[in-house]
């Protein structure tokens, strides 16, 4: 490794360690989830989707909570800093990715278990809305303008989403209960889970959370570098042209 590339990298010894732990965890999760843990009595092998689906959904919700909190921290004058804004953005990006993954894995699982890719269950529908809302949030982040303009605009939007999502959830539930019988029983409500299954699921949640931290830290730093390029890019270009003219 050369010394010049050492300076502006997004990794630190902490994230490197975290990355290694996460990677080992994923390997262990794959072994446990795909081979060691037993198949379900009712669901058969399809239950293995759960080890990616549930942690993915958990991670996505965690990500959106972090986005909301970071946005509030940015808007609050005493803690106003672009670092909060970049955390909000990085977290939303990771959240959208994993919400997409959990929607896809969920509907695959649904096809096998319920015989349908989609049902108008309130939780499912709210999740889909959450996904679209944060896709919109990322689009707003890409609108341009100054960094603080971007930060303020997207922070307001993130807080609006906190208001929107419970309203959507509530109205979908109201709509659903009146229009069709609840088609999805809460998974595992009165079902006892095999110990190894429960452990694999727990491991999945832990590993995915570590992965989330790793991804967001790197992404946040990458965004900071990007902001830096935008800030200094013009000045540097101007200086270079001036130097040319002076010759």
């Amino acid at each position: 490794m050369t010394t010049t590339s050492e300076r502006n990298v997004t990794g630190t010894s902490f994230t490197r360690g975290l990355g290694i732990v996460t990677l080992l965890g994923i390997v262990l999760l794959v072994i446990l989830g795909l081979f060691v843990s037993p198949a379900d009595v009712n669901q058969g092998e399809s239950v293995r989707i759960m080890y990616a689906h549930v942690p993915g959904a958990w991670l996505a919700y965690l990500a959106f909570i972090v986005t909301g909190v970071s946005s509030a921290a940015y808007l609050w004058k005493r803690t106003r800093s672009l670092t909060w804004d970049r955390f909000a953005g990085a977290s939303a990006e990771v959240g959208v990715l994993f919400m997409g993954i959990s929607l896809v894995t969920g509907s695959l699982w649904g096809r096998i278990t319920w015989g349908t890719y989609w049902t108008w269950d309130a939780r499912l529908t709210t999740t889909a809305f959450l996904f679209v809302t944060y896709v919109g949030y990322l689009a707003v982040r890409g609108l341009g303008g100054s960094h603080h303009q971007r930060a303020r605009r997207s922070a307001v939007l993130a807080l609006l989403a906190v208001l929107e999502i419970p309203l959507v959830h509530f109205s979908v539930r109201l709509w659903n209960t009146l229009h069709q019988e609840a088609s999805v029983a809460g998974r595992g409500t009165d079902v006892t889970m095999d110990g190894l299954m429960l452990f694999s699921l727990f491991l999945g949640v832990v590993v995915f959370t570590l992965m989330y931290v790793w991804l967001v830290l790197h992404r946040q730093r990458a965004l900071a570098l990007q902001d830096m390029v935008e800030d200094t890019g013009l000045d540097a270009a101007l200086a270079a042209r001036r130097a040319e003219a002076a010759v």
Partner: protein
Amino acid sequence: MSETRRAFASVRATARLIAIKDLRIERRGRVLTNQVLPFALIVMVMFAFALDSDAVLERVAPGLVWLATLFSTLFVIARSFAVESADGALDQLRTSGAPSAGIFLGKALALMAQLLVLVVVLVAAAVVLYRADISGQGGVLLVTTALAATGGLAAVGTLYGGLSAGAKGRETLLPLLVLPVVAPVLIGATRATESAFGTNGIAVSEGWPWLGLLVVFAVLFSVTGAIAFGSLLDE
């Protein structure tokens, strides 16, 4: 105390001025009557082509009315802020020192007035084209539903219209932002209108709880909008 009262009076005066200004622009430009309303009507006709059955149309008429309203709302919002971003009008407004809550409420009121006209025309179209039937009691429910629903749509529209005003690609961004947010309005207004029309023999009394949802939505977003609009404008 008088300080607060003066602030409220200032918000009210600004709201009134902005609303009158927007409606005057509409009266002179006639974008709603000459472009948006014909568009909404052609959408209603297209629904009939797509669904191709009187029985089905009669059953889904309330939903179609509000879907057409939502799509047309997007144009009205875009228009409302195209007016502001042209010629740097929004910058003038920002520097005028007018309270942002007043600007928000004014624009929302003007938007609501236009949306009400839109809903009236679309309900009339549903009666004519889809054989929707309105009883006396259903009429009361329908009018209050229209008021609450357009209020909510106007508040959300003003908020997100202000957010994307002047931005690149706002034509496509606005629907992406607004449609997920107004899903509760579509659900609530459609169910309430079903009761008002008596679709599938649903009683009028079943519509009132949905009206509650619409009112809560409109109040929440009006208050939030009045508070948050300042930080969107103040850039």
